[in-house]
């Protein structure tokens, strides 16, 4: 892509100015995220002090509160208990409370994982099959079918939520992992087909033809020759599907309650005494955002390509 820019190269002064403005913007835009991470390491009191504390004594109270349920007890009762067995019990005791059990966070988090990975796998797999067919074969009404697949993405989730709710109730899929995996798979399918078709178009069809001359069937050629070649595209598409499923809220809040609820509807409901428990919410947010941030930074090249893909292609 890079062509030589002789006199078109921006001057070094204008480059420095641009860099300075961008750095300022990046710092400002990262403040809210860093603030939430910092809050997760505060204790309840320093999270609600004013002016906001930038320097504070780090505490794991938020994380302890995130993973446990607690109840307040009288001093006499606390004195009657055997001494705390570990550091987190000690921390909770110092707040005149006892741990009554684990919270629902871990369950919600693992639901997010199961549904996220399940639906990502399914939509990338089905998307790759369809994308290959659209890329290689003369499919009747190809353009119409492709537009139909894309247009399904324009539906507001709430508009189809009631029928899906009723349909799932009848099929016994309401509030189940399988139901949510199917739903997210379908929502992601249109994106997966469109992105992957672009990547498949770039693989020369001579590759699989050569394999077929060597005695492979079409299916074998697809799985053994084409899929490995398309790995970059598959990775980029998978990240997008994963991020969508991981972050999705509307369907999760409307269609799940106890069994298959994911983390996004759960995190806002973490409540401490006398209002929201900010360090615990900060801890939940941090743990929830962490995988996405790591993904984004490690796989930034694929991601940036994927985001701009549709635009560049059209």
């Amino acid at each position: 892509m890079d062509t030589s820019r002789s006199y078109l190269e921006p001057s070094s002064f204008s480059k420095k100015m641009a860099a300075a403005i961008i750095i300022v913007y990046a710092v400002i835009t990262l403040i809210p995220i860093s603030w939430m991470v910092m809050t997760s390491f505060k204790n309840v009191d320093s999270a609600i002090s004013y002016p906001p504390e930038v320097l504070f004594e780090p505490s794991l109270e938020g994380y302890v509160n995130l993973f446990t349920n607690r109840s307040r007890q009288s001093q006499e009762y606390l004195d009657s208990l055997p001494p705390p067995e570990n550091w987190y019990e000690e921390l909770v005791r110092s707040r005149e409370m006892v741990i009554t059990g684990p919270s629902k966070f871990l369950g919600r988090y693992s639901n997010s994982m199961i549904i996220g990975f399940g639906s990502t796998f399914a939509s990338v797999f089905l998307g790759a099959l369809a994308a290959y067919a659209f890329s290689r074969f003369r499919v009747p009404l190809k353009d119409d079918l492709l537009f139909f697949i894309l247009s399904t993405r324009m539906f507001p989730p709430i508009a189809v939520a009631v029928p899906i709710f009723i349909m799932y109730r009848k099929l016994g899929l309401g509030d189940t992992h399988l139901g949510m995996i199917i739903l997210y798979t379908v929502v992601n399918l249109s994106l997966a087909v469109w992105l992957l078709k672009g990547f498949m178009d770039e693989i020369p069809k001579e590759y699989e033809e050569a394999a077929m001359i060597d005695g492979y069937s079409r299916l074998q050629a697809f799985f053994k020759v084409v899929l490995p070649q398309a790995m970059t595209g598959i990775a980029a598409t998978a990240i997008f599907c994963m991020i969508f499923s991981w972050n999705e809220y509307a369907f999760a809040v409307l269609l799940t309650q106890f069994n298959a609820q994911t983390a996004p509807p759960f995190i806002p409901t973490i409540i401490g005494e006398g209002g929201l428990d900010w360090p615990a919410i900060g801890a939940g947010t941090t743990l929830f955002l962490l995988p996405v941030m790591i993904f984004t930074i490690i796989l930034r090249k694929h991601l940036l390509r994927g985001i701009t893909f549709g635009a560049v292609r059209k």
Partner: protein, 299 residues
Amino acid sequence: MSVKKKFKGLSDKAVSWLFIGPTVLLLLAINIYPLVYAIKMSFTNFYANKIGREPQFVGLKNYIKVLNKEAIWEKMQVTASFMFWTLLLQAIIGLGLALLLNRKFKGNELLTTLIVLPMMLSPAVVGVFWTYLYNPQVGLFNYVVNFFYDLGSFDMIGSSTLAPWAIVIVDTWMWTPFTMLICLAGLRSVPNYLYEAAEVDRASKWQQFIYITLPSVLPFLLLALLFRGIENFKMFDMVVELTSGGPGSATELASINLKREAFEKWKTGYSSAFAVILFVTIFGFGNVYVKVMNKIKER
């Protein structure tokens, strides 16, 4: 298509149906069927929480009710002004950032990645933690604003004049990177020889910007705004967690109202009619927009 039938295994036609079939079937079952179902229900007085009660056909009554309700038009206005301000801010800031990033200074890829982070986050979770930043007693946002310009105590979420701006700020913070990335892709696709030719013709930098850069990046910017427009018309998660539509109904966007009618009041027939109206609106505007966009591209 020189290769045919000579190979073992399924024919190409069979393989293409095998490969496309599952996708089309799933989309029909989980996307089209519910939509048709919603359209059907919009002509009835169905209540999804009353099982066993046969819904009756009521014709266009639900549609007439929706369109005659003044509150609905208020929601549409709230949605429209939310869309106007977010798209305007994201277009200006996004394009500006893209122009700066296009100067290819050192470290620009890392900075791009950092700037992109907010749009990777869960909108609902983003909504929650901004309620903390906006907290009138302890919020960082309020502190910073007061640090630069003493406003005293103010409540971004609790005040009906400020709350619409609260959601505009968060959406802009979150989604400006999207416009930026698409514009950047556009800027990088401008062939260098255009600038070289302009340089030979002694066009000033400003003229180059107006006559080369802007026209080539405009289609990309418009496309980014189309995507954001569709998304913000459907906006639900971030705003629900940030303001839950309040105070009063100052930030009650169309989708939030739709959710209330459908899942709190369980007026399934009525809410389906509203959903269909929203759906037709988004398709109509989307189509007109795409036509205008293509005209601009052709020029």
